[in-house]
Symmetry: C2
Subunit: 216 residues, 2 copies
DNA sequence: TGATAATTTGACCGGTTGGTAAACATTACA
DNA sequence: TGTAATGTTTACCAACCGGTCAAATTATCA
């Protein structure tokens, strides 16, 4: 008798691992473009290059697929913030945080859009994740920023809104890519816009926080 | 014989005007939450308080409804940027642009999400609008900003990325509202976060552009 | 090899989808 | 008022949806 993914207790075979990867890759493609309700299992199966029943052999429901995907993406998505170091100096920490987020927008736009779609549609499936782990992490880093401000290393500001503004400005280049390209024109169809964006955002945030590049 | 909306040449009756308004209001609610493919005509009809065939009497297809909605929203969405005045001084112009965008995020979050959904899903229906009228308007305002920079009124910066960053930071409070609330906690469930955001963003952009509040 | 488990497929199911046809009800107006 | 245009509803359709099933195929390994 066939044992679908969820019922297994033993370790996964090579085929299982490969196929699940293949499916999640296709699911990322489709979910990130159409959202959960707008995506169809048939479409995901087609992109994954397999039949629908075959796909459903590995993930028993559309929702299970989406859940697996969201969990994985949310986790890696927070990595740049986790690296944010309390011991470092504000200039390099904020600068490299912006750079990392911008690199993710450039290299993993589908992951960003998947996440954006989920939030945009009310985050029905990850509200707990947001109020739990995400909030905890942001609270921790906000405290670091507040400490810097109190020590006079950066201008006094609301650390939460600072984080929001870094998120939004960087993710904009993934989520609103179509608009960005339309406005910039086709000359900028390469990756030049990411370098321009990095330059601008560094200027904006470092000056905006009165950081003068002086070694601390 | 009944003449649905698209075939009419005479002026609209009071009933038509009222019903179409009622439908677009419901469509805004549903499309902004689920995107085009995720929304269903039945659902829109239910929110609008009428039967599905009745709704389809005014808008013959789901797509026609969506098109009408997008066109209207896109137009009003650009109003704040249109008000951006070349003759004004940088401080008040940039500050009030941020304020207007933030007010729209607070007062018309559904419109913002509708637009975000559309862009996120590749803007299949409004690419021309983006490359045409939108680009033209942004080009014009970018030139204003560039003039200010050359006159030494603000720091030298890429005007396009400046506009992008104002868009993204302000719209973030509409599009990612669920996340913002989750991170800030329930204490901030009122409108306080918009005032905090306004204060932070003004600080960020005015300092970021080296604008020192001096009257020009 | 052969037998057993894992994988893949085509046919199919009940429910939902966007949209239609035509009968019925209401309004506008001569 | 009458009547023609406008507006609304019930019943319905074919296509598509997520998901199931049993049969067929392939991999595993004693």
């Amino acid at each position: 008798m066939a044992l679908p993914r969820a019922a297994r207790t033993q370790r996964r075979t090579r085929i299982q691992e490969a196929k699940e990867e293949q499916i999640l890759e296709a699911a990322l493609e489709v979910f990130s473009l159409h959202g959960f309700r707008g995506a169809t299992v048939d479409q995901i199966a087609e992109v994954a290059g397999m039949s629908k029943p075959n796909l459903l052999y590995y993930f028993r429901t559309k929702e299970a697929m989406h859940r697996a995907l969201i969990t994985r993406v949310l986790d890696t998505w927070l990595d740049p913030l986790r690296e944010f170091d309390a011991g470092g100096n504000p200039v390099s920490e904020i600068r490299s945080y912006i750079r990392r987020k911008l690199e993710m927008a450039r290299d993993f736009p589908r992951e960003s859009r998947l996440f954006a779609n989920e939030i945009l549609q009310g985050a029905p499936n990850i509200e707990d994740e947001l109020k739990g782990p995400l909030k905890a992490l942001v609270d921790e880093k906000a405290e670091v920023i507040r400490t810097w401000a109190k020590a006079g290393k950066i201008a006094k500001c609301d650390p939460y809104h600072l984080i929001f503004s870094i998120w939004s400005t960087t993710q904009h280049y993934a989520d609103f890519d179509v608009q960005v390209r339309a406005v910039l024109g086709q000359d900028q169809s390469g990756d030049g816009r990411f370098e321009d964006a990095a330059r601008f955002l560094e200027q904006l945030f470092l000056n905006g926080l009165h950081i003068n590049e002086q070694p601390t």
